[in-house]
């Protein structure tokens, strides 16, 4: 259970939300309405008021980095700082997670690709794999399919829902595509505005 309590972001009503194990919450809202700031507050990357509980433990009972190992944010634009893709992953990652790579359309040679030459769509899919192999309890996805075509978007959707089911994890999926959000977050689709988080009308 993830419990978001009274997170305050300037210009927005305090945000409360709880997410059950195995649940995916979809959030949409106008550009600049504070979606990314909300996600950054949940992973404790910015100073904020309010608290977030994982189970019955407050984020303050974790150190910053253990909290972020448990609650992992995949930002809209991922960063790759080493020369090759493989250096960003632990050793033998392809042997352990080959299905994960293959589901999103990568073969073993992806690990030797030059980071600088990857397209934004490739980086976006690889960033999701990089986050998932750490097995976070909560996965926060900030517009995870903006650079992907319809087919790859569907692949990401099914990968994320498989991860949810297999690990009893939790997901907050931020995006703009209403049809997609209704698919991934069947009963938990919200919109964010200055009034706070509202259940989206069907």
């Amino acid at each position: 259970m993830l419990n978001i309590q009274n997170i305050k972001i300037p210009g927005i009503q305090p945000i409360n939300l709880s997410i059950a194990e195995g649940e995916c919450v979809g959030v949409s809202g106008d550009s600049g309405c504070g979606k990314t700031r909300l996600l950054r507050a949940i992973v404790d990357m910015d100073e904020h008021e309010g608290d977030v509980f994982l189970g019955d433990k407050s984020m303050l009972e974790f150190s910053g980095h253990t909290w972020r190992k448990n609650v992992c944010l995949v930002p809209a634009e991922s960063q790759w700082w080493f020369d090759t893709i493989g250096e960003h992953f632990p050793e033998k990652v392809f042997d352990k997670f080959s299905t994960l790579f293959k589901t999103l359309g990568f073969e073993r040679d992806v690990l030797s690709w030059q980071s600088a030459r990857c397209s934004s769509g490739e980086k976006q899919r690889l960033a999701i794999i990089r986050a998932i192999i750490n097995k976070p309890r909560v996965l926060l996805l900030d517009e995870p399919t903006t650079n992907l075509d319809a087919e790859n978007s569907r692949k990401v959707e099914s990968l994320v829902s498989a991860y949810l089911k297999d690990n009893n994890a939790m997901v907050i999926w931020v995006g703009h595509n209403h049809a997609q959000l209704k698919r991934v977050a069947i009963n938990s689709y919200y919109t964010l505005s200055s009034n706070g988080l509202m259940k989206a009308a069907n």
């Binding site: 992973v43 404790d44 990357m45 910015d46 100073e47 150190s63 910053g64 980095h65 253990t66 972020r68 190992k69 992992c72 944010l73 995949v74 930002p75 634009e77 991922s78 960063q79 700082w81 990089r130 986050a131 750490n134 976070p136």
Partner: protein
């Protein structure tokens, strides 16, 4: 030992004619550097004469409190100089504290070690040794610390997105900054490593040259120079390490968030 040939004012005037000639030629060629040259030459004359007079006084009255006062002034000036060389402006008082404490580690402690255990001067604060030694250490380690700090802040700023990405993947603050810290350490140490490698072959170090001109045996001068080189290397290394330690500790808060507002003068948006 040879007698030292004393320079008269007339001798110095002859040397100054060379600078004047250069200034004249550059004005003639409209290189726009003539006036600057004259001002700098005047400054160097005035400043060095002033220091010479002070040193003369201090050498005559070798009292600890006067020496302490002079070294304190040297420390303050060197600390401000480090801050002045930063491309991104560091918060003044905090930055001053970082530079000053790094310089204390790099220069003061090393000078004390040299005075007590290596040269064994008597009394230990004998100004003929203390002040030139400290001056040489401060000048060189200041360089290294300024370079290391500048590289650290610049690189971390350029790569702030990468640092945050690494934090989001659950890395500790120290893991997220490690490569930048190592690179800055290297940048700070490069000048002295190069100087050691080139010493004697490409360049004759200034101190050694001075001693030889003053009539010392070359081997004696060389021994002093080697000791100074080692002191500077150790001082720069520990000084840069200390400065990077303070910077990287303060760059993150207790929740391991990246906080440039802690170290830089920037407005939060």
């Amino acid at each position: 030992m040879r007698e030292l040939i004393s320079l008269s004012s007339y001798d110095l005037m002859l040397a100054s004619l060379l600078v004047l000639a250069l200034a004249g030629v550059s004005t003639r060629l409209r290189l726009g550097i003539g006036l600057q040259l004259i001002i700098a030459a005047c400054r160097t004359t005035a400043q060095l004469l002033f220091v010479g007079l002070i040193l003369k006084k201090v050498f005559e009255h070798a009292e600890l409190h006067w020496i302490a006062l002079i070294t304190l002034v040297m420390l303050v000036v060197a600390s401000w100089e480090i801050l002045a060389r930063q491309k991104r402006k560091i918060k003044s008082w905090w930055g001053f504290g970082v530079s000053a404490s790094s310089l204390v580690v790099s220069s003061f402690l090393i000078t004390l070690i040299a005075l007590f255990f290596i040269i064994k001067t008597d009394p230990w604060y004998t100004p003929q040794y203390t002040i030139p030694l400290l001056g040489m250490l401060l000048g060189n380690t200041m360089n290294g610390i300024a370079l290391g700090m500048d590289r650290f802040v610049q690189t971390a700023w350029q790569q702030r997105m990468v640092i945050e990405q690494r934090l989001m993947l659950g890395q500790t603050a120290m893991e997220a900054i490690r490569e930048i810290r190592n690179e800055s350490m290297r940048a700070g140490m490069m000048p002295i490593i190069n100087a050691m490698a080139a010493a004697g072959i490409v360049s004759l170090p200034g101190m050694m040259t001075g001693q030889i001109l003053a009539g010392s045996e070359p081997i004696e001068a060389v021994k002093y120079q080697i000791m100074i080189m080692f002191l500077i290397t150790a001082g720069t290394g520990f000084g840069v390490m200390a400065a990077l330690h303070f910077l990287s500790k303060h760059l993150f808060d207790d929740r391991e968030r990246l906080r440039f507002d802690h170290i830089l003068l920037i407005k939060e948006t």
